[in-house]
Each structure stands twice: as structure tokens, then as C-alpha cells.
């Protein structure tokens, strides 16, 4: 695979490409689907292929192949170059600028190697959880693991080898009580070996959630539409910072490159340095967080990864960039280029996005609420294509009166604009939790593993219904 990658890089150089890069990937994966105690299916696959990107006089070409016959590759490269040259007259004059040359080889440590584990070991975990909640009407679980080996080379001389293992769980539960029903979805994911699965404490987590939802079905009340304090748990903070504290900071959206697909952003360069949230709020995107589901040390352009402060003390501080957008916006690249597979183009992506902790104990945050609602986790959510107004619907949630949690609330709805959300935050907890997700962008759609989270937060006097 490495030899073919180098062959393609040389072919592109011979054809007078300017900047060029090649990504070779081999991803070994397994997955299981358990539905209402029935194992529907197991999957084991090895996905191998090579993607290459290059410029010719500012026209950007991309090609992908998983047949390593050199003659066929040569034909493909020639076809691709013809199209790239043809597109030149209407091209956006893409430039990748200059970048450090990195030569690195890194692997994420696996305490229990994923390849040493049998299918039966994975299923033991799923069966344990399923058996604990047999009285739940709908029980759907997906468990997946992968070991991704990447080999990246570019015409600058960078050469990166990486091995990143990941384990993820997704579940969807349906609880029914007479004519009432509730759904709960959960997603967990981390980088690491099989030990990651145990660290999820899946059984304990799901059983607690089911008990809480049963309580909501039996005793829950619907809120009237009114303004009150809202306390959000880390899972809700996570989705909020991902949707409105991360996506609007992606520079390719700001530049309009993803306009017809994942949308644009209300932010632009004029927002840099402006106060958008409470001064207590700092949001970072950090691929280097060990065990984060979106972990990497070098991005898919071979650039060193680092923590990026998107909102610092409530002020818009930085955007997420790849080489192309950094040049286009005249800013410094910060290594945010990712592609979900060898055959997908590199885009500006988040990794592990979180709100940094504050100085409050969780109990203090709730104690100082006269009337409010605590939304521990969520079910439905969405946001517009400029990331201006969003909606989060609680799954497990409680009414707070005089600093005490008094009863469960059924599906409270927080529908709020981005500035209103971040300005209303007046207390931030000390304890951080990260949750996992698959973030979609690009066309064809690229689902990419990310973490998102933060501490408990309190919004003062916002509208909820």
C-alpha cells in the first residue's frame, strides 16, 4: 500500500502537479447489531484504498482507487489530470500555502488489543445490558470497533504513519406506558483498545437511564411555555458546543465552500475579537485529548494537531482551518483537516469539542435556581444552516424549585439563538464529561467520529417550553 501511495505521488509530480498529497488507508472493523435480544448481524471487514489530492495551476483534483493495478492507476491519474486541467479556467485558484514538514509514526496504545478479542467478548457486554432492561419495549444496540492505519505523504516531504483504534456504542430505547412513550438515544465512543468498552460502564449507565425514563413516564409533567433558569448536563452542553460553538467556526463554511451541503456560518472574520458569550465561556476543539473519539496527532494534511480556542472568555477567538482555508482567509492553519475515508475529500472538521470547566460544584449550580429545569440529556435537536438558531429537546429532565429537584419533566424544549445561548450562561461546573457522535459533512456524506462535552452549565432566565 505504501509503495502504491508513493507511485501515485510520483505520477502526480511527473504530470507537473503543484502541491500533491496521497493518503493510503487500511481500516479493519467489526460491528454488531442487537435488536430486542436478537443478534441481527455481525460484520467484519477490511477497507483498503488510496486517495490523492493535487493542484494544477490552482485547480484542485482528487482521485481515489482501491484496485492497485499500476496500469489502471496510471489511466485514472491521467483522466483525473485531464479533468483538473479542464476545470482550471473556472477554478477557485486553490492554494495550500506553506507548511511544516512532518515525519512521524504514532500509534494509540491498546491495553487489550482489539484484534485479540473474539466476537463473543463484544456480545457479552451487549447481552448483559439487554438482559438488564428486558422490560423496555424497544431495545436497539450497535457496537462497533475499528483499527485505522493511515499512511500520508505529500510533495513537501511530510510522511505520517498513524494507527488509531476506536470503539463506539449507539443505542436507541423505546419505553411505552399505556398511550405514552419516550425514546432515548445514547452514543459513546473513545479511542483505545477493547478496555474502552469496559470504561463506558454501559450496563450501569443504561439501567440508570431506563429507571429515570420510567419515572418520567409515570410522574413526568409537561412544562408551560415560560422564561426560567435552565441547567444543562454535559451531554446537552456537548451537543450545543458542537452545533453552535464548533460548526460556525469551520472556515470552509465561512468561505462558502460547503454552502450547498452542510451550510454556511453567521460568523465571518469581522467577528474575531467580538464578545459573543458570557466571559465565563471558553470553547476549545482539541484533537490531542487522549481517548477522545476524534483523537489524532497529525491531521489528514500531515499538519500537527493542537488545541484551538474557538471562543475565549466569551470572545470569538479563532476558526478551524485546513491549509486551503488558512490561505484563503489570510490566517494561520491550525491542523483541522479530516476525511472520513480514503475516498473522501479532506474538509475542515471538528475533533473533540468542549466547553472548559468553571468554578462551580454541580450542586451549587442547582441550589441557586428558584425555578428552572435541569436537562440532563437530550433526544431531538437541530440548527439552521447558518448556525444561528437551535433546538434541544430533553430526554431525562427535571423541574427545579427553590434549589431542589422536585419532579421529572417530559421533553422540555429549549429553542434559542446562538448569542442568546452563550450570553445566558452564568455558572459553569468543574466536572467534565465527553460524549461521542458522528458528525456529518460533505457530499458524499462523511460521518466522522467526534467527542463533544463540557461541564454542567446554568442559563439564566431563558425561554423554555
Amino acid at each position: 500500500m505504501e509503495e502504491i501511495a508513493e507511485y501515485i505521488l510520483n505520477l502526480l509530480k511527473e504530470n507537473k502537479a503543484g502541491y500533491c498529497e496521497v493518503r493510503a488507508e487500511k481500516v479493519k472493523s467489526s460491528a454488531f447489531v442487537l435488536k430486542n435480544s436478537n443478534l441481527e448481524l455481525g460484520e467484519t471487514s477490511v477497507n483498503v484504498g488510496i486517495g490523492a489530492r493535487y493542484t494544477i495551476n490552482g485547480s484542485l483534483g482528487f482521485l481515489a482507487v482501491n484496485d492497485f493495478n499500476k496500469e489502471k492507476i496510471k489511466e485514472l491519474v491521467e483522466k483525473s489530470i485531464r479533468l483538473t486541467k479542464k476545470c482550471q479556467k473556472k477554478s477557485d485558484n486553490v492554494s495550500f500555502g506553506e507548511s511544516d514538514i512532518n515525519i512521524q509514526d504514532y500509534k494509540v496504545k491498546q491495553n487489550i488489543n482489539l484484534e485479540s478479542v473474539d466476537a463473543s467478548d463484544y456480545l457479552k457486554t451487549l447481552n448483559e445490558v439487554d438482559n438488564s432492561i428486558k422490560d423496555v419495549d424497544g431495545r436497539y444496540f450497535q457496537l462497533s470497533s475499528e483499527v485505522a492505519n493511515k499512511y500520508f505523504i505529500n510533495s513537501d516531504g511530510s510522511k505520517i504513519k498513524a494507527e488509531i483504534p476506536r470503539v463506539g456504542v449507539f443505542y436507541l430505547l423505546t419505553l411505552v406506558e399505556g398511550s405514552k412513550s419516550l425514546n432515548r438515544k445514547g452514543e459513546l465512543g473513545m479511542t483505545g483498545g477493547f478496555e474502552v468498552l469496559n470504561s463506558f460502564k454501559l450496563n450501569e449507565r443504561v439501567v440508570n437511564e431506563v429507571n429515570a425514563l420510567k419515572n418520567t413516564l409515570n410522574r413526568g409533567v409537561k412544562l408551560k411555555s415560560e422564561a426560567m433558569d435552565v441547567v444543562c448536563g454535559p451531554e446537552v452542553v456537548g451537543i450545543a458546543v458542537h452545533e453552535s460553538g464548533g460548526h460556525p467556526y469551520e472556515a470552509d463554511r465561512i468561505c462558502g465552500r460547503e454552502s450547498a451541503q452542510a451550510g454556511e456560518s453567521f460568523l465571518n472574520k469581522d467577528y474575531l475579537g467580538k464578545q459573543l458569550g458570557n466571559e465565563k465561556v471558553t470553547i476549545v476543539d482539541d484533537p490531542t485529548i487522549e481517548s477522545g473519539y476524534g483523537y489524532f496527532l497529525y491531521d489528514d494534511e500531515g499538519v500537527k494537531a493542537k488545541r484551538k480556542f474557538l471562543m475565549k472568555d466569551g470572545v470569538v477567538n479563532d476558526f478551524l482551518h485546513n491549509r486551503e482555508t488558512a490561505v484563503a482567509m489570510g490566517m494561520k492553519n491550525n491542523g483541522s483537516a479530516r476525511a472520513s475515508d480514503y475516498n473522501k475529500e479532506v474538509l475542515v472538521r471538528m475533533s473533540n469539542t468542549l466547553m472548559l470547566p468553571g468554578d462551580h460544584e454541580d450542586e451549587e449550580i442547582i441550589k441557586d435556581v428558584k425555578k428552572g429545569v435541569y436537562i440532563k440529556n437530550f433526544m431531538e435537536w437541530n440548527i439552521d444552516d447558518k448556525r444561528w438558531q437551535q433546538k434541544y429537546v430533553g430526554s431525562e429532565a427535571y423541574l427545579i424549585e427553590k434549589g431542589e429537584i422536585v419532579k421529572p419533566v417530559i421533553n422540555p424544549v429549549l429553542e434559542i439563538t446562538t448569542p442568546a445561548l452563550y450570553k445566558a450562561i452564568d455558572a459553569i461546573g468543574k466536572k467534565i464529561e465527553l460524549h461521542a457522535g458522528s458528525c456529518g459533512k460533505g457530499e458524499p456524506m462523511q460521518g466522522i467520529p467526534v467527542s463533544m462535552g463540557g461541564p454542567m452549565i446554568r442559563l439564566r432566565n431563558v425561554h423554555i417550553k
Binding site: 430486542n36 484496485d67 412513550s181 450547498a260 451550510g263 433546538k391 439563538t417
Partner: protein, 434 residues
């Protein structure tokens, strides 16, 4: 097919009870544009062997992307060894029994698509967009591929396909408009027509304002209808019904509105039309809602047998998959959907998410042009509103459907739909207070 037969022999030697082996090879290209410039072109050659096995009721799948004899052998052995360590699928009832004779679906292959000049097509669209808008963004994709299927149940099939797909967002100041199409047959006028429609919406959507939340009669533009019907048909897949994740569960033979919705894998020029499904069952046309009455769910062989229903030829071997969505007026009238006293016209939407899959409570958020209609005419552009309602309510409240039909799929709703504009009464519209 020779390689597939060799794989079949190996699986039989390993005592696999049932198998389905598919092979797909495809050549695809893409030109992506934004700010009325080409930002990227792409070329891909892909080959993929997919193997499904039933080994003593333990089910497994693998995908093979590396084709040396050694790699294929390793993948087969890895799959069988993997599956041995799993558990039985107690609900699986087997694969569809062949042999079958397959009829071609008309107009699903057009050699001319291979010769379409992507750069010229994109340039033509960007130029047409200049008529009313300032800039454009979008995608032009084309595909040419072949697929083969061989199963343990006397199934052998092959087909060749061409497809192309175009999407454009036109932008003018704060306003934008969107339109798209997909097709198996080349039609030169489609790009220009689509670009012009998007640019007209962009031009109309200037100086948008917020309006009060509440109940509105809403005209769903074709892309929004595509999204709504993708959800309806997705929820009609038996896997989702059995998982408790469908608002159509317990609704069989009950009336939900008045329209007729079909899954049509034999649709002429249908973007996802096919001769045979993933286990080799011949493709068909399935009426899901007949004048509002839920007639069936979508099935593969196993789910149909398990539920004593008719196989609709929608395998997915575990999870059924829809082909193309077609809908008809049913008991309603066709006509000018915008001929209303007062209402909203939503041209595009995204982020359709469920609060409760079982009840159908959901919301979706409009993007691009949205308008207030008064006395059948667009009065002003509108922004920052959300559709927050229930799928069954929407189906029940469809009042009229448009005459014009266009085949499309959208970014988050990729089941191709012969889409039309529809008028739905009393749709709940919400927005943030701050």
C-alpha cells in the same frame, strides 16, 4: 461472475448454509463548485465484493476491497471464523429462493452520461444562475457501474447502470434558493432549468423577516416533500417497525390521510431502480399508502415470512431499503398548491430529527427561501422559523398536491422521490423567543 462462483465454492466447503455474494464496480466523477468557482473535481474507481453468510443461523457480512486470491481467501476465512463466535439470529427465515427471471427496467442506462462534460455542465448552471442571483454552489456527480449477484438459492443476476445528480444553491445578498435533480438518462435542459429555479428563489428571498409562530397552511417545496416522504417510507421498513422505531407501527390497514405513496423499484429512469434486490428477489412496485390506507410495510424475504406478509423485494438482507418514492393524489385534488388565502411556502429544509419515533413527533428546520403567501402570491421572505409537528398529523393534513413532478434526492434524504409541491393545513411553526 467467475470470482463470485469461486467464492461460493469456498463458502460451501466451509459448510456455510446460505450466502449472497455481490460485486460492484463503479467509475464516478464529481465537480464541486462554490462562490461560482470550481473548488474541486474528483475521480474514483471502486470495486467491492460483499458477502453475506448464514452459518448455523449465525449471520455475518464482510466487504472485500482487496482482490488477490490470498486476500479474498483470508477475508472468507476471517468472516466464517468471526461468525462462529457470534450468536444465532433466532428471527431469520432465510434468503429468497430462485431461480428468477429478471426484466429490464426501462431507461436506466444511457451511454451519453459517460460523455457528459462535467465542467461544461457546471459552467452552464453557474451562468444560468447569474440571471437572478450573485453566486452559486453545488455538485455535479456522474456514475457508471456494473453489479452482480450470486446466492446459494439459485440466484444469478447482473446489471449495468448510469446515473447523474446535480444540486445548486443560488445566493443573492442574504437570500438563497435551492434546487436539484437526479436521473439515469441524460437530459440537457435539466441543469439550466434547475439553476434558474434556484436563482429565482434566491432573488425572491430578499430582506427576510421573522413572523409570529403558530399554525400555518404550508406549501412544501419539492425538496421538503422529498424529506417528508423519505421519513414516511423509511418508517415503513419492517426493521424499523419491529424495532419499535416507527410511527407506522400498529397502523396497518388504518387510514392516514388521503394520498397514495409507492415504493417503485421498477420506475422508468428511477435513480435507484433495480432488477433485483440484495438477495435476488425481482424488483416490484409496492403501494404503501393507498388513498391514505397503510397497505403494507417494506419487506425482504425473511421479514415477510416472519410476519406472514408478501415479500416486497426491498432487501437489504437485514434492514430493508427503499428504492424510489412515487406518490399520487389519491383522494385529493391536483392543482395550484399556492392558491391559498394565507400561508407559508417552505422551499427547502434540513436537520429532520425525531423527539419520538413511535409517535412521529419531530422538527425540521427550513433553509434557503421561505415566504409568506397572501391571496396566492408571495408577499415577503421569511427567516428563522422551524416546522415542529407530528408526521401523522402532516400526512392527515395534506390538502392538495402540485401537478409538476421532478425526480430528486437531497443532502439528508437520499431516497429518490418523484417529488411535487404539496399543501399541508395547520402546520405548527415555532421560533426562538430570544
Amino acid at each position: 461472475m467467475k470470482t463470485l462462483k469461486e467464492i461460493a465454492n469456498k463458502l460451501e466447503k466451509l459448510n456455510v448454509d446460505e450466502y449472497a455474494i455481490s460485486y460492484n464496480e463503479e467509475e464516478a466523477s464529481q465537480v464541486k463548485f462554490a462562490n461560482s468557482k470550481i473548488v474541486k473535481n474528483g475521480y474514483e474507481l471502486s470495486k467491492d465484493i460483499g458477502i453475506f453468510i448464514n452459518y448455523k443461523k449465525r449471520l455475518g457480512v464482510t466487504s472485500i476491497k482487496s482482490f488477490s486470491e490470498k486476500d479474498i481467501d483470508n477475508s472468507i476465512n476471517a468472516l466464517v471464523n468471526f461468525v462462529k463466535k457470534t450468536e444465532q439470529n433466532k428471527e431469520f427465515k432465510g434468503l429468497s429462493e430462485g431461480p428468477f427471471k429478471y426484466k429490464e427496467v426501462d431507461n436506466c442506462f444511457d451511454k451519453k452520461i459517460e460523455d457528459v462534460d462535467e465542467e461544461e455542465a457546471v459552467s452552464e448552471g453557474m451562468k444560468a444562475c447569474e440571471e437572478y442571483a450573485e453566486k452559486a454552489a453545488g455538485i455535479f456527480d456522474k456514475y457508471h457501474g456494473k453489479s452482480y449477484l450470486l446466492t446459494s438459492h439459485n440466484v444469478e443476476g447482473q446489471e449495468e447502470y448510469t446515473k447523474y445528480y446535480y444540486t445548486i444553491k443560488a445566493i443573492k445578498n442574504e437570500g438563497s434558493g435551492y434546487d436539484t435533480f437526479c436521473s439515469r438518462i441524460y437530459d440537457k435542459k435539466l441543469v439550466k432549468e434547475t439553476a434558474l429555479k434556484a436563482s429565482k428563489i434566491a432573488n425572491d428571498s430578499q430582506k427576510p423577516v421573522e413572523i409570529d409562530e403558530g399554525k400555518y397552511d404550508v406549501v412544501f417545496g419539492m425538496p421538503v416533500t422529498n424529506i417528508l416522504l423519505n421519513e414516511v417510507v423509511g418508517h415503513s421498513c419492517m426493521f424499523n417497525v419491529e424495532s419499535g422505531l416507527s410511527f407506522l407501527a400498529d397502523k396497518l390497514n388504518k387510514k392516514i390521510g388521503k394520498i397514495t405513496i409507492k415504493d417503485d423499484a421498477r420506475l422508468e429512469n428511477g435513480f435507484n431502480s433495480y432488477k433485483f434486490d440484495d438477495e435476488g428477489s425481482p424488483s416490484g412496485t409496492t403501494t404503501i399508502l393507498d388513498k391514505g390506507v397503510l397497505k403494507t410495510y417494506l419487506h425482504n424475504y425473511s421479514s415477510a415470512k416472519r410476519n406472514n406478509m408478501i415479500n416486497t423485494g426491498n432487501a437489504g438482507l437485514i434492514m430493508q431499503r427503499s428504492s424510489n418514492i412515487v406518490f399520487e393524489k389519491g383522494e385529493l385534488e391536483e392543482g395550484n398548491v399556492k392558491d391559498i388565502e394565507k400561508g407559508l411556502y417552505v422551499t427547502n429544509s434540513w436537520y429532520t430529527r425525531f423527539q419520538n419515533y413511535r409517535t412521529g413527533d419531530f422538527s425540521t428546520i427550513p433553509r434557503d427561501g421561505m415566504f409568506l403567501i397572501k391571496k396566492g402570491k408571495i408577499e415577503k421572505a421569511v427567516k428563522n422559523m422551524r416546522i415542529t409537528d407530528n408526521m401523522l398529523n402532516l400526512l392527515n393534513n395534506i390538502e392538495r398536491i402540485g401537478k409538476e413532478v421532478k425526480q430528486m434526492k437531497t443532502w439528508e434524504a437520499d431516497i429518490p422521490t418523484m417529488s411535487r409541491e404539496i399543501l399541508i393545513k395547520d402546520v405548527n411553526i415555532t421560533k426562538p423567543k430570544i
